[in-house]
């Protein structure tokens, strides 16, 4: 399919192959390492749930015990199922309790013991993966029964009260008013927790904790809404952070439909160790792939700190890298919710046409990906009337350029987390634009060498230059070094710095992880 910008296919091919060259060494690196979260995710897939009296999840307690004895480098599967096979406990949670009471010694078995341990592990983890498969099939059934939205872009709406029991009625109301996708924003700080909180929660800051129970409650509420509305309402949450793999597993088990999952967000915006992030994102994306979940990447974030015109190409580069990493992890084009945003200073001459140029570039570069188009935030102000207008023009770009997922902007962006009425007004805004101007695209034909086409080509050119600069870095992982010296968003993130490094280990010979094995289809 040839896009409206008629980009030169050779240039596009070049951009992609540069991204592949930049990404491949990182994948190698990820293959060679494991993390505490990857191992805990494996235990979660095996069915280990719940937390101790202090709210520390059993997966954390058990893993800590195991690593104390055998380290992280062998993985958690072999020592744990070896213990089970040895009859130290008759199920995982009993084992976890005993282990954290210090009454179990873990070892790395050999010979037939090893084989038995591996087999047992693979069997139990496999059951978990089958559950994920079942939830994916369930989604397909429900989508068939209730149907997909009859329009593009899908309308994506955020709730963020901090209290799951306030979130639910607000989400249902939003769905009633036309939201196709509901995202529950996380409490600040969760991404830096090295564990996943347990249970239903009511005390988040500017967001609600991502927990398995909160996932379950909201998904159930939206299943109700889907039934009432005769339209399958999708649910989104965030994988990003120190627990990407575990949250990905929980999302698969609770049939979430989309997850925020960016290959570099944690590094750049949360100062999480780069290796930790790359290992975690790869595993989490393998789980998403299996669960049929659409990932949402976080390119919008670059534009909240950098200027949206100067930094436009960093968005494109990040999209190309996210695409490469995602496909390597097994995700289909139809699962790539690549992100971009309407963040150009509205006072710039032709700002609206530049937004069109950027949005069309993404559209034409990734014709099969369900692009996620995000609203103005940094140039929103306390002038809510002006904000409502900007959101209308953001919506117009969304429909004019064939975006797939439209994150609805709120007029109170600069003031508060969205109120119920903000959401209602915002949906009315989207409905007007889509209904009144939805087909305007037919009449919209930028001249082949006009302002819009030229701007798009310029951004693509700058993206290629940036990728070349990245590859120019000596050291075997060009991208790591590039991140280290501040190529992205001016933030220097050295490979040996950042949070969560202590949770990373180079795999020992004989490292075994049944989840990876199954997910990689071995």
């Amino acid at each position: 399919m040839k896009g409206k910008l008629a980009l030169d296919p050779a240039v596009v091919r070049k951009a992609r192959s540069l991204a592949r060259q930049a990404g491949r060494p990182i994948v190698e690196l990820a293959r060679k390492h494991t993390t505490v979260s990857v191992e805990r995710a494996t235990l979660r897939l095996a069915g280990l749930r719940g937390a101790d009296a202090d709210g520390i999840p059993w997966v954390n307690r058990l893993l800590d015990a195991v690593t104390a004895d055998t380290g992280l480098e062998h993985g958690v599967a072999v020592p744990v199922w070896d213990a089970l096979v040895r009859g130290e406990a008759d199920d995982l949670s009993t084992l976890a309790q005993k282990a954290s009471a210090g009454s179990i010694r873990f070892r790395i078995p050999e010979g037939r013991d090893l084989t038995r341990a591996r087999a047992a592990a693979r069997k139990q983890v496999g059951a978990g993966v089958k559950q994920v498969d079942a939830r994916a099939r369930e989604r397909q059934r429900l989508v068939k029964r209730y149907g997909d939205p009859d329009h593009k872009p899908w309308i994506y709406l955020i709730v963020a009260t901090g209290d799951i029991y306030e979130d639910i009625p607000q989400a249902q109301q939003a769905a009633r008013e036309g939201a196709d996708v509901i995202a529950v924003i996380r409490s600040t700080g969760q991404s830096l927790l090295d564990y996943v909180p347990e249970g239903a929660t009511r005390e988040g800051f500017a967001g609600t904790y991502a927990t398995q129970e909160n996932f379950r409650l909201m998904r159930a509420a939206l299943d109700e809404s889907s039934k009432d509305l005769g339209r399958y309402v999708r649910l989104t949450n965030y994988a990003s952070g120190l627990c990407m793999p575990e949250i990905a597993a929980l999302a698969g088990l609770e049939r979430l439909d989309m997850m925020l999952n960016d290959s570099m967000y944690g590094i750049l915006f949360r100062d999480i160790n780069p290796v930790r992030t790359f290992v975690d994102q790869r595993f989490s994306r393998q789980v998403h792939a299996r669960a049929g979940i659409i990932i949402n990447t976080g390119e919008d974030n670059y534009l909240t700190t950098a200027d949206a015109v100067e930094a436009a190409h960093t968005v494109t580069v990040s999209q190309l890298l996210n695409e490469y990493f995602a496909k390597e992890a097994g995700l289909e084009d139809s699962q790539l919710g690549l992100g971009h945003a309407f963040e150009i200073d509205p006072d710039l001459p032709d700002s609206f046409r530049m937004e069109l140029a950027h949005a069309m570039l993404a559209r034409d570069l990734f014709p099969k990906a369900p692009l996620k188009w995000m609203p103005p935030t940094r140039h929103m102000s306390g002038d809510v009337f002006r904000g409502y207008l900007l959101d209308g023009f953001f919506n117009l770009v969304g429909t004019l350029t064939g975006q797939d997922i439209l994150l609805v902007g709120m007029m109170t962006e600069a003031v508060v987390t969205p109120w119920l009425s903000d959401r209602d007004l915002a949906l009315q805004n989207v409905r007007y634009v889509m209904n009144a101007a939805g087909r305007l695209g037919e009449d919209f034909h930028p001249a082949p060498d006009g302002f819009i086409a030229q701007r798009a080509r310029q951004v693509l050119g700058e993206s290629i230059e940036l990728l070349e600069r990245i590859l120019a870095h000596e050291g075997k992982h060009g991208l790591l070094e590039a991140i280290g010296d501040g190529t992205f968003g001016l933030m220097k993130r050295p490979a040996d710095g950042g949070k969560g490094l202590d949770g990373v280990a180079k795999k020992a010979p004989g490292y075994y992880n049944p989840a990876s094995e199954i997910l990689e289809g071995k």
Binding site: S381, G382, D383, T412, V415, V416, W419, L420
Partner: protein
């Protein structure tokens, strides 16, 4: 969404994103140049309105003498729904068929209605929506009712003209529309009109006086000297049913002349 349920009603607070948070949005202009003092003045006004804390989230100078403000905050007033006074429809809503029947049976003649926009008001769309066949919100107007005779005088009718026409047509009811409200034009004109009718008619023969418009307070009929006030979104059936209710069903002692 629980809120104190009482026998008579409920005690509520405005809702931002959490039950009981009491959040509201306010905007206004102060006639002073933009400055920190001006922002403080805006916060002061918000406080006096009961908003505390008051966040002045936007302040824009409009020339040298004015500043526009947007304020968000928590208002500490409670809403008591048991204390709310509204004019609920106190008569049955009838179908055109029943209305025609009631008039034929009860009045034994057609019911005569004279209407228009008085004063300098030329907004006829509202009165036309009630009177003309075309009607409003899918409902046909009074002209459509076989048993109702409608004389629509249109725009900018003077009060004497209206009274004269009412006499001549032996009007059972007079329907007046007022849309322009600047400087309380609608109130003044309506009072002048009702006074003129009290002048011109003996109390027991005065036609029913009905006034309507988007900015009327429906509970103000006594003060305006009319029998009923209709506001935003009125439909012809509301009016026709009221006419039957007052002129036929609970018909005053006088015999049909």
């Amino acid at each position: 969404m629980v809120a104190t349920e009482t026998a008579e009603g409920r005690i509520l607070r405005p809702y931002g994103d959490t039950t009981g948070d009491g959040m509201v949005q306010v905007s206004f202009t102060l006639p002073m140049p933009h400055s920190k003092v001006a922002e403080g003045a805006a916060a002061q006004l918000a406080n006096k309105m009961g908003i505390d804390p008051a966040l002045v989230v936007h302040a824009k100078a409009m020339g040298p003498d004015f500043t526009f403000f947007v304020v968000y905050g928590r208002v500490n007033h409670l809403v008591d729904t048991s204390k709310v006074k509204v004019v609920e429809r106190d008569y049955p809503l009838l179908s055109p068929k029943d209305i025609n029947l009631a008039i034929r049976k009860g009045l034994r003649r057609r019911l005569a209605v004279v209407g228009g926009c008085i004063g300098t008001d030329a907004h006829t769309v509202g009165i036309d929506a009630i009177l003309n066949i075309k009607g409003f919100a899918g409902e046909k107007g009074l002209e459509y009712y076989r048993e109702v005779k409608v004389v629509n005088l249109g725009a900018q009718v003077s009060v004497p003209e209206l009274v004269a026409r009412a006499r001549q047509e032996k009007a059972d009811a007079v329907l007046v529309s007022q849309v322009v409200t600047q400087r309380d034009a609608h109130i003044l004109n309506t009072k002048e009109m009702s006074a003129a009718f009290r002048e011109a008619y003996p109390a027991d023969r005065r036609p029913l006086l009905i006034v309507g418009g988007p900015r009327f307070d429906e509970s103000a009929s006594a003060d305006l000297g009319v029998d009923r006030v209709f506001g935003r979104g009125t439909t012809p059936a509301d009016v026709a049913s009221f006419l039957v209710h007052r002129l036929v069903t609970q018909r005053p002692g006088r015999k049909a002349s």
